[in-house]
Symmetry: C3
Subunit: 652 residues, 3 copies
Amino acid sequence: MHLGVCYYPEHWPEAWWPDDARQMVDLGIRQVRIGEFCWSRVEPRPGEFHWEWLDLAVQVLADTGLQIVMCTPTATPPKWLVDQDPHMLAAGADGRPRRFGSRRHYDFSSDSYLAQAERITRAFGERYGRHPAVVAWQTDNEYGCHDTVVSHSPQAVRRFRLWLQQRYGTVAALNEAWGNVFWSQEYTRFAEVDSPAATVTEANPAHRLDYQRFASDEVRRFNGAQCDILRRLSPGRVLVHNFMQLFTAFDHQAVAADLDVASWDSYPLGALEMFWFGAEDKLRWLRTGHPDFAAFHHDLYRGMSRQPFWVMEQQPGPVNWARWNPAPAPGMVRLWTWEAFAHGADVVSYFRWRQAPFGQEQMHAGLQTPDRHIDVGGAEAAAVASELAQLPTLQTQSTQRAAVALVFDYAGMWLLDVQPQGADYNGLQLVYEAYSALRSLGLDIDIVPPGADLGAYALVVLPAVPLVNDALLAVLRASRAQLVLYPRAGSKVDAVSIPPGLPPGVLQSLIDLRVLRVESLRPGVTDTVHIDRERHSSTRWRETVEARPGVSVLARYADGAPALLRQGRTRYLAGWFSAGLQRLVLEQAAADAGLATVRLPEGLRIRRRGDLLFAFNYDSQQHVLQLPQANWVLGGETIPAHGMGIARRSAP
Amino acid sequence: MHLGVCYYPEHWPEAWWPDDARQMVDLGIRQVRIGEFCWSRVEPRPGEFHWEWLDLAVQVLADTGLQIVMCTPTATPPKWLVDQDPHMLAAGADGRPRRFGSRRHYDFSSDSYLAQAERITRAFGERYGRHPAVVAWQTDNEYGCHDTVVSHSPQAVRRFRLWLQQRYGTVAALNEAWGNVFWSQEYTRFAEVDSPAATVTEANPAHRLDYQRFASDEVRRFNGAQCDILRRLSPGRVLVHNFMQLFTAFDHQAVAADLDVASWDSYPLGALEMFWFGAEDKLRWLRTGHPDFAAFHHDLYRGMSRQPFWVMEQQPGPVNWARWNPAPAPGMVRLWTWEAFAHGADVVSYFRWRQAPFGQEQMHAGLQTPDRHIDVGGAEAAAVASELAQLPTLQTQSTQRAAVALVFDYAGMWLLDVQPQGADYNGLQLVYEAYSALRSLGLDIDIVPPGADLGAYALVVLPAVPLVNDALLAVLRASRAQLVLYPRAGSKVDAVSIPPGLPPGVLQSLIDLRVLRVESLRPGVTDTVHIDRERHSSTRWRETVEARPGVSVLARYADGAPALLRQGRTRYLAGWFSAGLQRLVLEQAAADAGLATVRLPEGLRIRRRGDLLFAFNYDSQQHVLQLPQANWVLGGETIPAHGMGIARRSAP
Amino acid sequence: MHLGVCYYPEHWPEAWWPDDARQMVDLGIRQVRIGEFCWSRVEPRPGEFHWEWLDLAVQVLADTGLQIVMCTPTATPPKWLVDQDPHMLAAGADGRPRRFGSRRHYDFSSDSYLAQAERITRAFGERYGRHPAVVAWQTDNEYGCHDTVVSHSPQAVRRFRLWLQQRYGTVAALNEAWGNVFWSQEYTRFAEVDSPAATVTEANPAHRLDYQRFASDEVRRFNGAQCDILRRLSPGRVLVHNFMQLFTAFDHQAVAADLDVASWDSYPLGALEMFWFGAEDKLRWLRTGHPDFAAFHHDLYRGMSRQPFWVMEQQPGPVNWARWNPAPAPGMVRLWTWEAFAHGADVVSYFRWRQAPFGQEQMHAGLQTPDRHIDVGGAEAAAVASELAQLPTLQTQSTQRAAVALVFDYAGMWLLDVQPQGADYNGLQLVYEAYSALRSLGLDIDIVPPGADLGAYALVVLPAVPLVNDALLAVLRASRAQLVLYPRAGSKVDAVSIPPGLPPGVLQSLIDLRVLRVESLRPGVTDTVHIDRERHSSTRWRETVEARPGVSVLARYADGAPALLRQGRTRYLAGWFSAGLQRLVLEQAAADAGLATVRLPEGLRIRRRGDLLFAFNYDSQQHVLQLPQANWVLGGETIPAHGMGIARRSAP
């Protein structure tokens, strides 16, 4: 567990570099990421390389004792390259290329840009691949940011046709798989297929879903090419990419498979503002972020990272890119940092060392203000560094497998985006709500890919898994865990259709029911759900389910229709349940799985790592967390507002 | 009166067809629509026809005793055709062509596509035109759906110029008619005129209105060409098109003039969600649709149909295309079906036989679920079939002319769209409100085109007729009916300007007033209207009217200005009155016309056909309808929630 | 002080002209604007001039004793010109040209159109430049209306590159000034720079701000070319342009420097509907406009006009272009007219003489209805004319410099648009709020350009001046006035970056503080501000300020942080204060400046001109204004709803 920072030496006078490096070390920072967007400085004209400044920066940092994470600069090709090869630009759904003048102006399907990206990656790899201070490589930056996964360029369409040919073999198979007999959408040649854009009304959902699958594969191809080069030129170094938050436009699990470490960029306040949270939540958690936001991503990325995951960019203060940009409450930068470690992070790296006074992000805070003074975030980072140093025992704590698994499938997210059936059926939100309900019960959670072995889990939750392939079915059936299936589980079969025996399709082998009908319900429509003697509610979505013999009904809608069903160890939710009802269902499932739970106050959260238990208080009032046999090594059982504590557990 | 269904044999294995046909017959269905979107199956490659499967389907259905409605497949030309002739695609206001990949991907102004449509229509006509089981033809499908009436393609602009030349003769006449002296918009040649798109600020309303008129004429041309072929190749068969709901982008009355039957596609729940109804209404009628919605369209399309109208597609369960898609309340499919018959329908045909498990509409319910079981809608259809069979006397009841006429003019709708003057002045909504007010008084209503003979009506209402041509003026003057003119009646003269003596223009011969000033009023602005001793309200729109001698003031705004005026048998509303005030005004006009009215509860509606009176209860509570001398042949005077009844009236 | 009107003789039969002219004179109108959009009538075909009708119109008007304001018709080039030279069209951010069919369809950067504009201006100038009745020229019409300042056409980009070359000299200097090292945005040649459009995410704010600066300069070039010609061909005539309301897309102060008179087009009701005012304000001031709206623009344009400013177009009734278009309350046309004179106007000219029955503005009221009767606005104009005639002494009253200056900088508006940092940080709104607060204290205000001499002012307010150049700094330092700096004052240095010592940058020489952090706050977040013993509030924006020695804290946020700071005669507001708090701060500053203030009721406003004091009541109830030593020459101390009065002050 150590701290890092993102640094852009090219933004500052050379004369400042030694001071900057020394101040980083003084602050407790051990690792520094550089080179991220510096292509135009390294190669200002075609083939004309200027390494001298970057050599010097590496030397200064290394000499000060810092470890270096070097980046490939492929997210920002220079203008001369774009002008040489305008076809490297991606195109929007309107067919128009998106232009130079910011970043990520390239098409994942451009073979010519891929060659350029490989060329510059080789150049960086040859120059710094074996430098002793270089301990890791970040490929590119935030794949997909600014809606850049999908392109409708001619080159993308050309490659999509090849992809279809490989996937389906014949046009007849494609027509069959997509159901193209519908509306005479049948093709006679692969060359007839376009991207699903500018259609008169919605394109075939199978067409749209396959286009997303294809685009995701293109990201993997692009990243994989860099990894191949760097593994060869920089042996033994860690390969990492900085993924994003609440972002599902490509299959991160597939891309992460080519890396050593999955890292992510954590901006809790910007995310709260820009995503689905309601106005009340946006006020309540204005300066903290939502209590489960960072944890969710820690668990998500840990689940796909071959080595302990990192936070590559940690928000240190106000950002510039949300609709509104408040500052973190005092203490939150420290809290966020510790929470990452609690969830298994090895590195937390702040973005950025110093606020830049120019360019698009000049209103984005850093650890230092533009005039070279330590800012609030810098002071809190120093506090964490100091606490880490005082508790060397922490470093030995490794992260165990949790007892609860939440299955997360990117393709399922795309399916629900392509075919929501109700305007507010947001699959990711439902995953998040399930996660939040589990975590509010004090449970540790692993978020796992759909093919992952589930043998060791006591409770497995599938909040948004409409597509169930053979591998997933096999592990679900092999598992002994309590299973909780949310609505639409198994509701679709590949590319995209309704399973022959109706949903939940192959999951009928776990719970024998037929979903006869689904309804999406506008805001304001609320169904009452009766469970035990309690009344709860459901909104947005309701399923009419036929329960076959052997299936019992645990909860009913007001008209008597089944709302929650169970067969053996499998539960099925026939609606989008309220937060309270989700918690109750998961609490009962956890009890059946033999797991102890506790109903935590809304802002209080806990997480175990090794024999330590971490507690985090997102609330603006203090909470007391009584742990009978705990020994507090940091803080105590009274967790102050926006504060945290660490206790050693007697029993792991 | 009989039932039908929409069927796509090409979506299912041949082996299922005989079973499907037999089950249809068992359910009580007599007529089946096929062939609608099957072009790519009939002609998979240019000129290569595969009739064998369709021949077989026709034979199977015919052998089972079903009557066939054959469709021309022109709404879904196959991809090879689009690639052969890319100029057949329509273009949006941005000039970009809309592409293949869904349906309706053609331009009404494409001469080459028209030739193709004629070619495939001839092929179908030659093949099935004289088949004894083929009793009717549907041309194309839902003209205009997905905003496809207006195109800004080069071919559309070229034909628009010809259209202008025919309409105006000289450019000078065009400039004069459009008022092009305004802002130096004068042309020197017809070839200078473009479509009214991409202008710096709004285009000339005359330009916009004429473009809509032109586009409407293009639809009629396209449909007429198919009719000509089918009349020749399939003599004696009924020609029909399935029009849409709440849709006015072309002149349906003109297109219907070339057909035998005007049919429409009835989706009451989708319409409630997607149109102007307020949040409260959307909750109240969530699973029923608005009580006047289907009736309005029945009366509208009956008014333009040369033979009794049909419902071609009746919603049988949840659909896939609204923002939210709830299910009909139990009983509603039966209610909707009966209501169509009550309003004069000859056929109610469900969409579709079985829910398709693939393609864009896989979440659209059918009479059967995808796994071949009867769904809720199927069961209710069977109930209607059974009731029909038990009441053979119903079949002799024909629809009489009503005592109330509502004049509906498509060009008036376009004018109000082009020039609303207030953001929420929705002409169609105002028509609907007037219709709803009349119907809430228990009146039967005919909706008639602007030129229709009004001699037999006692009460004539013009809710949104800004353009009054000579024919309309003549029938209004010849009529002896009580006339109710809503605001903006006669407010514009052709292509588009203010009448010389101010609105209501030529209607001043019926009521001698001058509209000096109009105001559109934002939500929240409410005017009180004093009438008799009651206080009502008006919103959105207010006119300042100068009443000349002979005109009396029946209601006044709070400041004393006239709100409702009357001269002889003509009333004029100088505002957008509340529902209650509209009802009061129409109630008084009906009384003056010698018509009996009754204030029905909000969810209860009645309609007469022959000597039968039908009652429909959209409410979720029962209502009692006391009819002293009625003999209930179905149900009784207590109409259950979502139920209906039929009574024989002693006096017609 | 006299009245004018806008007239389009080409819209009416020649036979009406003499009557129209006589009726204008009878109404009390002295001046008539003509020719504004008449290009297609003067030159219906290339080089084929038809002056005869315009000669006649000029003669008829002149013979009736009217003074003529002639317009150049360059806002509406005819279609034949556009077809000759399609590249004269401006392009949107999507690169697509905006087309003929309304008005303002030209690109300020088109050299070829500039030549055409010069040609037609010369033709007009030669024809009417020395006509004795022609007293003034209006160039073009409403520069920038319909978002026409910025173009992304090839010609605009080409000229932008030249502009950059002139501004920066070398590409290296450009890269340095823009901070292009950020994200490898560096250029190697000026020819590589595009317009800041279609970038993947936001373009560099420096790029965007410079594009706005460039576009503004292009407007000045275009207007200047016309001025040069007219000064030569029409010596001694007044050159004027009609600017718009709440519009800042180019530097009006720079354009006005080439004119004699800055005039503006006043539509108080349309503006209320279309701009930032809240729903409550939009209802309260529905038929009056906001009480400070017209006054703000009078003071703004007076501040840049070399001779007394004009209102070129005064709203006379409902307009056609707002979302909703109510009518002015009775009396408001008179009130608005008098208010313009009170603020120093020399002419108030109504738009338009008669409502046109055709074209885009056929729903825009005039002084006459389309059928040639005097409308409400006409009657009120006549009332003003009569009052003016009865008070000849008014004509001798000239406008003095006020004691309060509000500094208004167009470039600052652009900066805040480019980089709001919070979605509702609307710089113009903040200026307006400051103005409104000052005016609610009964103060007269001068709105002055950033370089203006401030020597004579007692109080100077900078509500939205993020960019402080040397000239402004010099006059601020030279001033003895009380200074009130709103948030973000001096927060940026040229093209666009954070000042080296943090904001307020060079203003630190006036008040020695560092703005360490800024936060934008979503609606619903309210900070309490404690000042003296009062509690006020702040929203939207909060700054964390470090006060250095010598700076005192006058108000604090609830957590003790400074909210209002003061050093010597300079105050700094560290937040977006509520209206009440702004008023309090400005009241205290005025007191320190020795200025008497009075807290006026919300709808009551006063303004002095010479030794007269004008009072205006926007409220719907009367207010009493007690002025001990005043002699009311029009009305009295009880100002009726929507009424006004004029008092002679004993002491000026």
